[in-house]
Amino acid sequence: MADKELFVQGNEACALGALAAGCTFFAGYPITPSTEIAEVMSRKLPEIGGHFIQMEDEIAAVGAIIGASWAGQKVVTATSGPGISLMQENIGYAVMTETPIVIINMQRGSPSTGQPTRSAQADMMQTRWGSHGDYETITLAPSSVQECFDYTIKAFNLAEKYRCPVFVMADEIVGHMREKITIPEKVEIIPRQMPEKTDNYLPFDAPENGTTPMPSFGQGYNIHVTGLTHDKRGYPSTDDEETHTQLVTRLCDKILKNTNEITSIETEFLDDAETIVLSYGIPSRSALTAVKQARQKGIKVGYIKLGVVWPFAEEELIELTKNAKRIIVPELNLGQIYLEVDRVLGKYAKVELLSKIGGALHTPTEILDKIMEE
């Protein structure tokens, strides 16, 4: 079988990516603009012996995928802003119990039910700390239909490798737009690592890279899974300061200390760039058009696109932007990742927000005008 070409929507590409990554379980509650993901999964999963469950709400959806993940399945749910809000409690539970889950969020206008059929990127901070407590997650931001497919596969692999929730944060435009995708003949998949022994082992041990093989219910393992602070065996130990400090620090460090492994950055025209447009997700396509137009006018401007937003690629960005005087951050919100860019790069360059809300994408002209302001 050779590579396959299809002309599909971003939502369909996410579903196909999940299936290619070995997903066998979807639980969710349909919501615009992500509904087509549930539609495709509900058709395809029964064909491969998997399961699709339409839940009563998004709280239950994440509960169900956490349970299925502990039963050895590769799992995903898909939603939009109102659903992501309901999911937060169980996202924290997945963090604490180190459960691999993938959550796809087709962002729409918000707060609350906002603009169901319009685009936004205003849930970006929610994927970082929407649930209570200190923790780190992994967040990917596709800007094309091909990336919907590729990043969803990557999300499954990262979830397995780091045993944590991984978010695919797209938006209404990417979700509903149609483009050609290439489905490769072979897709690299990271399979679930199971412990070698079924008893007298440590399912929450702290090895060098911060993650440990994950047992599965129904396979003969002795397991205890809890959201309470637990020791390496998984048993509650809620009064011991040392246990809590070690556990929560490790949950964060397993992501933060592997930032360079996890992140992916695309760049263009950085060599002599004095101004850099730094973006993620769909505005990066307007940004690249604007940067190319500015280059034709002889302006020294470069382009950076974050494929992975969290963890934030601090060190790499400092290196890439060291010669820049000005960083422009276009976002479909009133300034979220801009704050992080300013925290990291603001000491070295002037960081400027180009925000847009209301549902439409920045036009290249809007970004070009911002570039030309100086």
């Binding site: 299809l6 059929t117 737009m177 483009e179 050609k180 058009t289």
Partner: protein, 185 residues
């Protein structure tokens, strides 16, 4: 080179399908690049509806249409709603039975538009016998008037997109569409 296309009509005419068939023909069969977007929300269920397609021989960065070089109108309401940002010298293809050309003669003059007529709905009803294939008749006219996608790819894309059992009907609609398109201005 990049071509920005907008197709507008009322919900249920198959405007969206027409856009998908064009974009699929361009990307899968002509091996160019294409992006298709559309209006969601209440307007897609009756009222003015539109789809936009960008076709290019290079990778498409900005995926939306700003100033369409080709505008296909299958309803007067949708035409008026979406025509303002049409590019100077653009091709405008209308179904003259559904669009009142006199009412837009200022914009046709000011923007120096090239106007084509395709009586696609009447042809679908009277020649093919199925009003529902009006969008594919219009597609035939689009291909004949613009050449943005090849005829062969358009046919392959139709066969790849339409429900099973309707292939012959749709191919016939496409052929009729090619025949009936007329350059007016």
């Amino acid at each position: 080179m990049r071509t920005d296309i907008r197709i507008a009509g009322f919900g249920g005419q198959g405007v969206l399908m027409c856009g998908i068939v064009i974009a699929k023909a361009a990307s899968l069969f002509d091996k160019n690049y294409a992006v298709q977007t559309q209006s969601y929300g209440p307007e897609a269920r009756g009222g003015a509806s539109r789809t936009e397609v960008v076709v290019s021989d290079e990778q498409i960065d900005y995926p939306k249409v700003e100033n369409p070089q080709i505008f296909v109108a299958m309803s007067h309401e949708a035409l008026l709603k979406y025509i303002d940002d049409i590019k100077e010298g653009a091709i405008l293809i209308i179904d003259p039975d559904l669009v009142y050309q006199d009412e837009i003669k200022d914009i046709i003059e000011n923007k120096k538009l090239q106007v084509y007529h395709s009586k696609s709905t009447e042809t679908a009803e009277q020649v093919i016998g199925k009003k529902i294939v009006g969008n594919i008749v219009m597609l035939g006219s689009f291909v004949e008037a613009t050449g943005v996608i090849s005829e062969e790819s358009a046919k392959q894309s139709i066969l790849d997109s339409v429900p099973k059992g309707t292939e012959e009907l749709n191919l016939q609609a496409f052929e009729e569409g090619k025949k009936i398109v007329k350059k007016i201005i």
